[in-house]
Symmetry: C2
Subunit: 331 residues, 2 copies
């Protein structure tokens, strides 16, 4: 539609041709971004899954991220949502609102990183929009995944007595954000910052949990909050053994010096691990899936009858930890 | 993902529950917006079509639009893209970046209008995101349509000798924008402003043109520019008879006083009519479709061999009109 701000730099058509079209090559339904819409035909027997996130400079990224970091995170947080549904990447759309002052070089680097990321995760660009804004860089990425029809994992479906599992390690996202803000250096800071900026969507694990887990989602709001979502939608409560929550070496070392921060790690967001519920009979299957997909998993608790969505964390002695925050509440 | 700006007003979860969830009711795959992703299963034998647009306050809407106007236009411009593909509305996703200072009342009115619009056009909300921004209101709407598999209309496919048709009237979008800016009053201004703010996506016409038209798209960049897109993708040139271009009474009256503005009307965007190419043998079919769908159409020219994408407009005497702008170039 009409943008009275008028043309600048390459103009929309030029930018599409130079930066966007190459990202669509290899996906027939994108038709080289030459139509106003793309055709999405999922493979036979599959359902299409769609998820979308908007990230805003100064709000969702701290500001000194390069365009490559922004591109990678925009894609990965959406792929993590797909992983939580047991879906595999199919394609994505990209809406950019960019300040007039932003150089084309920013967009070029952004798209170069997208090219690398989409090759890594096996999907292509199918469409989008690019507009100018008097505000900050605003990136909306919409990811499409495919999952065998009727087999997607959901938040509901957990049963009382199910084990609660989580992949990877918890709390690195928060510590990574803090490391970014503190301009921290050194190998542990670098590890944490990478975890914050380049979360690993647990796609292989998610896909293999289809038919194994009863309920799942990704940890974006915080382990406690996301487990609460799963429990609530399943009509159950949940209990976790805090010492079972897997921590990275960097996080464990941080905690050794600041034990009071444990609750923060459990309730912060941006981990992008999977939390899922499965019957105890599936334990051997899950261990096998973890091995096959080279994704560490830890059994941290169970679902049980109780107030839907209530989550308590027990310490080594079995006492309830005072965790009064149930995770980040989005604005 | 973490939004360090923190909670405000209802918070994301509260806003989803109160304003967004009701918009998803009736579409099973949305699952009440309770998962991180939605399941899209188009009807058997149909392809899914996706299109998306971002609109920014101060750039794409002038600023004194109410939230209802913004909601309606965000949806309709996307539905117009679906119409241009011959697709019917299926569902949509909505990403909002809203200033902290914006009251919930704005969102409430925005969603109330979406409720009315989605009922009118027959689709539901399936997902989205809501974040805060230090910038202006930024709305990304992603619309999904369905079209019989392999039958979507595209920009390419036109053949030399095909008639060029356009629906409705051309130029009202520009005059409506000007009327908004001039705070114009009176019945003609009201008509033009409504055309600008509430364009009518030509969905019934588009659907019935499947198998009848060879190529089509919607007029968002301007009649000349969009016809140029169609011609270029078809490897052809195009010629239109300027006096055949359909004008509303309001536009005709404006032109009577300002004949020099004719080129502006042909090259401005925001008309959201369909321009399409069809063989002369289809003329009777097209007239019948126009009657059935109560959508006026006009035959305005033809495709012909020539430099791909070259479009010329001839006046009453057959002389080429000097139109040096080929339409709005997006930023």
């Amino acid at each position: 539609m009409t943008d009275p701000a008028g043309p600048r730099r390459l103009g929309e058509f030029g930018r599409i041709a130079r930066y966007m079209r190459p990202l669509s090559e290899g996906f027939a339904g994108a038709r080289g971004l030459r139509d106003d819409a793309a055709i999405l035909d999922p493979p036979k027997g599959c359902s299409l899954v769609v998820t979308t996130d908007t990230i805003v400079a100064g709000v969702h990224f701290v500001g000194d991220e390069g365009p490559g970091d922004v591109a990678a995170k925009a894609l990965r947080v959406n792929l993590s949502d797909l992983a939580g549904m047991g879906a595999q990447p199919f394609c994505y759309a990209l809406n950019l609102a960019l300040p007039q002052s932003l150089e084309d070089a920013w967009l070029e680097a952004f798209c170069a990183e997208l090219a690398a990321e989409q090759a890594r995760f096996g999907l292509h660009l199918v469409g989008g929009d690019s507009v100018s804004t008097p505000g900050p860089v605003t990136v909306t990425l919409t990811a499409f995944g495919v999952v065998p029809a009727g087999r997607a994992l959901h938040r509901d479906g957990g049963e009382a007595g199910d084990d609660v599992w989580v992949s990877g390690t918890i709390g690195d996202g928060l510590l990574g954000l803090e490391a970014v803000r503190a301009h921290a250096h050194g190998p542990q800071a670098a590890y944490l910052i990478a975890r914050y900026r380049r979360p690993e969507p647990r796609l292989a694990l998610g896909a293999r949990l289809v038919g194994v887990a009863r309920a799942a989602l990704d940890v974006s709001d915080g382990l406690i909050a996301d487990l609460a979502h799963l429990a609530e939608e399943s009509g159950l409560a949940a209990e976790i053994a805090a010492p079972s929550v897997p921590l990275s070496e960097a996080a464990a070392e941080h905690l050794a010096g600041h034990p009071e921060r444990f609750a923060d790690l459990l309730t912060a967001g941006d981990d992008y691990e999977l939390v899922f519920a499965a019957p105890p009979a599936a334990r051997a299957d899950i261990e096998a899936v973890a091995l096959e997909t080279a994704t560490p998993v830890a059994r941290i608790g169970r679902l049980l009858a109780g107030a839907p969505g209530a989550v308590r964390a027990l310490d080594k002695a079995g006492a309830v930890l005072p965790i009064d925050r149930t995770g980040y509440r989005h604005d």
